[in-house]
């Protein structure tokens, strides 16, 4: 049987597990409600304001949701001893980890996309806001910008979930998985940026290095790519952001590195 077929079988099991886990469904609903709350609170004046209003919450909420969906995916199998049982079947580590990731992503992405879709719908259909879905402010506030934001958020979601799956494969217990997940979420949301700011204020790095260093954190890379590709000149002239190449490279390294860790640690080769 091909690796792809095996991965799909594992993915189907993961997806069904998510659908049948009430806690996950509650978290998914909570995510949609919180995102909607941000949209309502910030107003629905256009796509560009919407992107600017959502990018910071997404930096926090997406990793939180991704870790909730993935931090125990493999660890729970290991905890039950089922991971050892699976090893007696013709399943490679790559197929298994790939399947776990794809199955969890299949459950996670719709939640993110629905919340962003509802946000966009609020811009289009909000009473009192005569927003054109074609163009509102010349070349700046167009739906295509929001679509870019959605695409980048999908990419960021995949990276965050890959890190969560890596935690799930590396942790030896549920408690350890939770501890690592909490530390990593804090590091992603605050730690990396705070470290860079501290290094900058301490003179360890110069302003010229910011473009590259901010790409090392997935959150900063995501933020930078959103500002570069979905917001454009309105913002990027006033803030240091990683270059397009550095941002994409940063996210790719985190994605590949995290899944590589998961494959290496899921069971001995």
């Amino acid at each position: 049987m091909s690796r792809a077929r095996t991965a799909l079988i594992v993915a189907q099991r993961e997806f069904t597990t998510l659908l049948r886990t009430p806690t996950i469904l509650v978290l998914a609903l909570g995510f949609v409600v919180v995102v909607a709350g941000f949209v309502v609170a910030a107003g629905t004046g256009g796509y560009l304001p919407l992107i600017l209003d959502l990018v910071a919450p997404m930096e926090i909420l997406v990793p939180l949701l991704a870790f909730a969906f993935g931090y125990r995916a493999i660890q729970s199998d290991a905890d039950r001893g089922e991971l050892e049982t699976i090893q007696t079947y013709p399943v490679s580590r790559l197929s298994f980890v790939g399947g776990v990731f794809l199955g969890r992503l299949a459950g996670l992405l719709p939640v993110v996309l629905v919340s962003l879709g509802l946000s966009a719908a609020a811009v289009v259909f909000a009473p009192g806001d005569a927003v054109s879905v074609v163009v509102r402010h010349g070349t700046v506030d167009a739906p295509v910008l929001f679509l870019r934001f959605v695409a980048l958020t999908v990419l960021f979601t995949a990276v965050a979930l890959a890190v969560a799956v890596a935690v799930s494969a590396a942790a030896r217990s549920a408690r350890e998985a939770l501890a690592i997940a909490v530390v990593l979420v804090i590091a992603l949301v605050l730690g990396f940026d705070a470290t860079i700011v501290a290094a900058l204020s301490g003179g360890l790095i110069g302003p010229d290095a910011l473009g590259t260093l901010t790409a090392l954190s997935p959150n900063s890379a995501y933020r930078g790519l959103v500002y570069t590709l979905a917001v454009g000149d309105v913002y990027t002239r006033s803030a240091p952001t990683p270059s397009l190449v550095a941002g994409v490279a940063g996210l790719t390294l985190w994605f590949v590195g995290a899944l590589g860790v998961a494959v290496a640690r899921v069971w001995r080769g």
């Binding site: 049987m1 079988i9 089922e82 050892e84 007696t88 001995r268």
Partner: protein, 278 residues
């Protein structure tokens, strides 16, 4: 830690001696169960597994023939689970070799000591998942029926009793028709009726495969085993049929025979390192 470069193989063929019903075999030569008419389904030679300084399995050699039930008995901490996990290739060997069948899609079926399954899935769904992993056309309904879970195929794993969960684990161990089935304490903690049922299931499994079982239930072992391997502090101290073991120790039951064969004293627990803790 373990040395993953140890000589553990999955080669299919092996040559070993045949069982001698009159003589209790020792660890000095590979023990075999059954009649010796077929090539062994499993050959273990000089297998050693250590965790740092603790030697859990110490130069163990034996063979298991197709169509037989071999029971691995011994005190807690004697290395039974480590040995069975090494045979399943779940833990690396430091020395020695394990020759398993290579022709099957799934060479080894395995029941862990405390089987558990995703609570969100039913009995049938759980087995279907494992069946799908083999890539073969598996009759899940027949597998469920075989272990006696035909009345609860749609019951979710979290709603199964301990005995039912073990039966599901045994059913899982047979998915893909592995020629070698390893069962780690399949009747631990079960009531007498369920224990009897599990024993019957194991005997039934041996019609199609070689079965290696670890157990503390010596009454059941005496009933189902073609070969008994007595493990003490990581070493096989005796290997033969239940009747031959009782005869060689001049005892009337397997429990008494094991007491004669095992050096551990009552009230003490043998550790992996071979020492005895109070």
């Amino acid at each position: 830690m373990t040395d993953e470069s140890a000589d553990t193989t999955t080669d299919g063929t092996a040559e070993t001696g045949t069982a001698d019903a009159e003589t209790t075999e020792t660890a000095d030569e590979p023990a075999t169960g059954g009649t010796g008419a077929a090539d062994p389904a499993l050959v273990v030679e000089d297998l050693t597994v250590a965790f740092g300084d603790l030697v859990a399995v110490d130069e163990v050699s034996f063979a298991v023939e197709p169509g037989t039930v071999t029971c691995l008995v011994g005190p807690n901490g004697s290395g039974k689970t480590t040995l069975i996990r090494a045979i399943a290739d779940l833990v690396g060997a430091d020395h020695g070799s394990v020759e398993r069948p290579e022709s099957a899609t799934r060479p080894v079926g395995y029941l862990p000591q405390a089987p558990a399954f995703r609570p969100q899935f039913t009995v049938a769904e759980t087995l279907q998942f494992y069946a799908d992993l083999t890539g073969e056309d598996v009759d899940v309904d027949a597998t469920v029926e075989r272990v006696g879970l035909g009345g609860v195929p749609d019951r979710r794993a979290h709603a199964l009793s301990g005995g039912m969960t073990r039966l599901l684990g045994i059913a899982q161990a047979t998915v893909g028709d592995p020629p070698l089935v390893l069962l780690d304490e399949p009747s631990s903690g079960l009531d007498p009726m369920m224990t009897r049922h599990v024993s019957d299931v194991i005997t039934d499994l041996a019609a199609d495969a070689a079965v290696l079982v670890t157990s503390h239930d010596l009454t059941a072992v005496q009933r189902i085993a073609d070969q008994v391997l007595v493990l003490d502090r990581g070493r096989i101290v005796a290997a033969d049929s239940p009747a031959a073991l009782m005869a060689s120790t001049d005892t009337d039951d397997l429990e008494s025979a094991m007491s004669e064969l095992v050096a551990s004293e009552s009230g003490q627990v043998a550790t992996r390192g071979g020492e005895v803790d109070e």
